[in-house]
């Protein structure tokens, strides 16, 4: 028994180290981020000028006129993250539900056998390859064929349109997060009891309505879980987005209509990657850690939201 207790303690200690790791991460990131928040207050989240200019000022240690060195207004980054994440998740949700329904209900056996590895392949492709295809193939295509010169001229005084923009980023992001959502939703749809589907058919309800009212309802916890997971993945995607979303920390303007889709954005995670070299400079480091802190908090809140959304469905017998 002595060996058992020793083993238990040793393994337990290892497990506790993991706990300490995440605690340490939270503490250090927030600790390093604090100066940036304290100097800017709540307007850290507001808008006020070009993010790149502010970051460069920190790099060169020459504060902008009338502001402290810590001056930072993250709104363009937050907006960029919001736009790309929300659009990508919405697109991916619709596509994933349709694909999962197809996979479990309508696909003939051969198509099911092909789709299985296809989806696993899409999930396995590294984000840098998605980024490469985006920046070398899709962005130039959009630039040449979808953005007219007139459109470029219409916003030319503010920003250059070059194909690296909201549309490219959102579409590729949607493709990246779809496979995992399809896998989760299809797995849930496959566990809908046969008796329910048979009962619905015996009442004279066609397969499509049965899917909508019985199968998808049963799969709702999985859909919620998949959405949360996909949103977390989209939030944290840095590399692909830093390659295709456009190098400007620019707040794309939805009032521009369709042009909005072609304006560059820079989401939060991409900002961290692109400024990683500057982490030796204290002020810049604090700002970047502040950005990371926002990412951490969003990821934590997403997990909480996902857990809360699954609770009400348990009472109807839908096992989450």
């Amino acid at each position: 028994m002595r060996t058992d207790q020793r083993a238990e303690r040793a393994l337990g200690a290892l497990a506790v180290i993991v706990l300490l790791l995440i605690a340490a991460m939270a503490v250090t990131v927030f600790g390093k981020a604090w100066p940036s928040f304290s100097h800017n207050g709540l307007s850290w989240f507001g808008s006020g000028g070009d993010v790149d200019t502010q970051l460069r000022a920190m790099e060169q240690a020459s504060p902008l006129a009338g502001h402290s060195l810590y001056y930072f207004r993250a709104w363009p980054l937050l907006w960029g993250t919001l736009v790309t994440t929300v659009l990508a998740v919405v697109i991916a949700l619709v596509v994933s539900i349709l694909a999962a329904v197809f996979l479990t209900e309508f696909a003939p056996a051969t198509m099911r056998r092909t789709l299985d590895p296809v989806i696993r392949l899409l999930a396995a492709v590294p984000s840098v390859i998605y980024g490469l295809i985006g920046i070398l193939a899709i962005a130039p295509y959009i630039n040449d064929h979808l953005i007219s010169n007139a459109r470029k001229a219409s916003v030319g005084y503010v920003v250059q349109l070059n194909g690296a923009d909201v549309a490219t980023a959102t579409v590729i992001l949607a493709v990246m997060i779809t496979p995992i959502m399809v896998a989760l939703i299809a797995a849930a749809l496959a566990t809908v009891p046969r008796s329910w589907r048979e009962g619905s058919a015996a009442l004279g309800v066609n397969r499509w309505r049965t899917i909508i009212r019985v199968s998808l309802r049963t799969a709702r916890p999985a859909i919620v879980a998949a959405t949360v997971l996909a949103t977390a993945r989209a939030l944290g995607e840095a590399i692909m987005l830093s390659m295709v979303s456009g190098g400007r920390g620019f707040a794309a303007n939805p009032l521009d209509g369709i042009t909005f889709l072609f304006e560059p954005v820079r989401p939060l995670a991409a900002t961290i990657v692109q400024n990683a070299e500057g982490l030796t400079i204290p002020v810049l480091a604090h700002t970047i850690y502040a950005v990371a802190a926002v990412l951490l908090v969003s990821a934590a809140m997403l997990s909480l939201a996902g857990w809360a959304a699954k609770q009400p469905l348990k009472r109807y017998g839908i096992r989450a």
């Binding site: 329910w196 009962g199 619905s200 015996a202 009442l203 004279g204």
Partner: protein, 306 residues
């Protein structure tokens, strides 16, 4: 009860409000009424024959799964105002025959059929399948309420009727009324009326099966198919449901598959005995149980095989 005295013989269920019986029968403690004297029963049989109407007709029906014919050359009528029981040992094809009445056999790949099945004179394979299933509803062996509220379960078939482009509404006064009516017919209304929004899966087994019956009745079908509805239930729930089935007789044609001979005796007006896919004997339930014409029927009822 004294263990030495034999239990009372199984008798057909006669409802208290049965208009053909002069006096309300006394029950003997387990919900089964003693048989009325023979003459009244004969009167009852004669009078009900005048009321029955043929709903479905099977003519030389053959059914197969793959290459194996599991139902062979069966011809039966299904009439409103009476309960038809399909009895037989396992593998006799009675469940397959039942499922063919609402074309559920088509769901299985490799199913084949021959012969004619008509509903009110129309061949059912020419009807639109979902339309057919709304007119011929089915209740399964295991209660299978959907993971929704009681109301949503009962109103399901009605809410999912084709809307021809109009917006589909889950809760309308008509639907609520129809749901309440169906629950009353199923004998469940009093027990659940206080909260129809309760999850259906919280009900007991017997209540769930009655809910499934209510769900099947909500769309006012012409025929109700029951596939061993009480085999998963306790005796008290079974008795309640058997009462309910007999009471439904007036409005829907009922076809019930059962492997419980006593149940068939209690609820059925006509009995079809099937063996290995063939229809061995068909007749009024008293005739089948008391004076079976075929030796094999006599063997089955006598318990020679099961």
């Amino acid at each position: 009860m004294d263990p030495l005295t034999p239990p009372p013989p199984v008798r057909k269920i006669v409802l208290e409000r049965d208009p053909f019986v002069a006096t309300p029968p006394a029950t003997n403690g387990n919900g089964i009424a003693p048989a009325p004297p023979n003459p009244l029963q004969a009167t009852r049989a004669r009078q009900s024959l005048a009321d029955v109407r043929e709903r479905m007709r099977l003519e030389s029906v053959w059914l197969a799964y793959g290459e194996k014919w599991v139902v062979r050359d069966v011809s039966l009528p299904v009439r409103r105002g009476e309960v038809l029981a399909l009895i037989g040992a396992s593998g006799s094809g009675k469940t397959t025959l039942l499922r063919s009445l609402n074309r559920l056999t088509e769901v299985t790949a490799g199913a084949a059929r021959a012969g004619r099945i008509t509903l009110d004179g129309e061949e059912i394979h020419e009807l639109e399948v979902n339309d057919l299933r709304r007119r011929v509803s089915m209740v399964f062996q295991q209660p299978n309420p959907f993971p929704m509220s009681i109301y949503d379960n009962v109103a399901y078939a009605l809410a999912e009727r084709p809307t021809n482009g109009r917006r589909r509404r889950r809760r309308t006064p008509e639907l609520e009324q129809a749901a309440a009516e169906a629950l009353r017919r199923a004998g469940l209304y009093d027990e659940v009326a206080d909260d129809l929004g309760r999850p259906a899966l919280r009900l007991s087994g017997g209540q769930q099966q009655r809910l499934c019956i209510a769900r099947a009745l909500a769309a006012e079908p012409e025929v109700l198919l029951l596939d061993e509805p009480c085999s998963a239930l306790d005796p008290i729930s079974t008795a309640t449901i058997e009462q309910l089935i007999v009471g439904l007789r007036e409005s829907v044609a009922v076809v019930i598959v059962t492997h419980n001979l006593q149940q068939a005796l209690r609820v059925a007006d006509h009995v079809a005995f099937m063996h290995l896919g063939e229809l061995v004997e068909y007749g009024a339930s008293e005739q089948i149980f008391e004076r079976p014409a075929v030796q094999r029927t006599r063997d089955y009822i006598g318990g020679v095989f099961g």
